[in-house]
Symmetry: none
Subunit: 152 residues, 2 copies
């Protein structure tokens, strides 16, 4: 199973390609077959989620559990899958970001890549700064409230 962590500031070339950082490559499960499914993230700030194929398959199961006769479920599924695309690493361990997602995120020249457990996130650096600045609660508080009850 994959577990991604760490972050890197990488360049995006004129063809829309970005390398997958070596440390994340090492944490990529062989079952993923060097393939990712990319789509938009769940935040208001536009970012890209890249799931390795093995994790995506699990995620697919949760999607199947939704009821598309519910209007909100339908909206969720449509928006998520509208942006979804399958990409494969080339011999230099790069993926090329689909044009739609490049436009959506405004990524250009430079991308911030963050490992987040079961997926990798790709941000336009300025957007990520805005995201952090928009947080109203300090990390110290959130950490305590999210993790503080373990063992209690």
């Amino acid at each position: 199973m994959s577990f991604f962590k760490g972050s890197e500031l990488y360049s995006v070339d004129a063809k829309g390609r970005v390398s997958l950082p070596a440390k994340m490559r090492k944490n990529l499960a062989p079952e993923a077959n060097d393939t990712f499914v990319v789509t938009r993230g769940p935040d208001d700030e536009p970012c890209i989620y890249a799931y390795p194929l093995d994790e995506w398959r699990k995620f697919e199961e949760s999607l199947k559990a939704l009821n598309q006769f519910q209007e909100r479920d339908r909206f969720f599924v449509r928006t998520l899958l509208l942006w979804a695309d399958e990409v494969t690493l080339d011999n230099q361990a790069r993926i090329s970001i689909p044009k739609g997602l490049v436009d959506f995120t405004g990524i250009d020249k430079t991308a911030l890549i963050i490992g987040a457990i079961d997926h990798v996130e790709i941000w336009k650096p300025e957007t990520f700064d805005n995201y952090l600045n928009g947080r109203t609660e300090s990390y110290a508080n959130v950490a305590q409230s999210v993790m503080g009850l373990r063992g209690a």
Copy 2:
């Protein structure tokens, strides 16, 4: 299982390397494979947490249990993993602190290393002084409230 205690004031060389104090090295479990995962601590004051690999694996399990479709969980995971990196001891039992964490903590020349049960903390000495000075409650009081209910 590892259990760290004690503290040392060590030098950080131009390449950002710092030795793991010998006494902590002795408490490092063989399962850790001389490898640590470093990331930022949960405090407002910037410090570095270094988990030996075996302890980190346990911590990973708690992270996987979070639901990243919850906004606060996502913020926590991102911030924590943004700074995370895997480092291995060299033949001189040193780790090199990732550049991002050096900048984040402002560490330069000297670092305070503290053993804290399942992880090792690395502080800029001045920051740790500020931390201590910022405490509003006395150690005596906190000791009583944290430990005073045992067996009650």
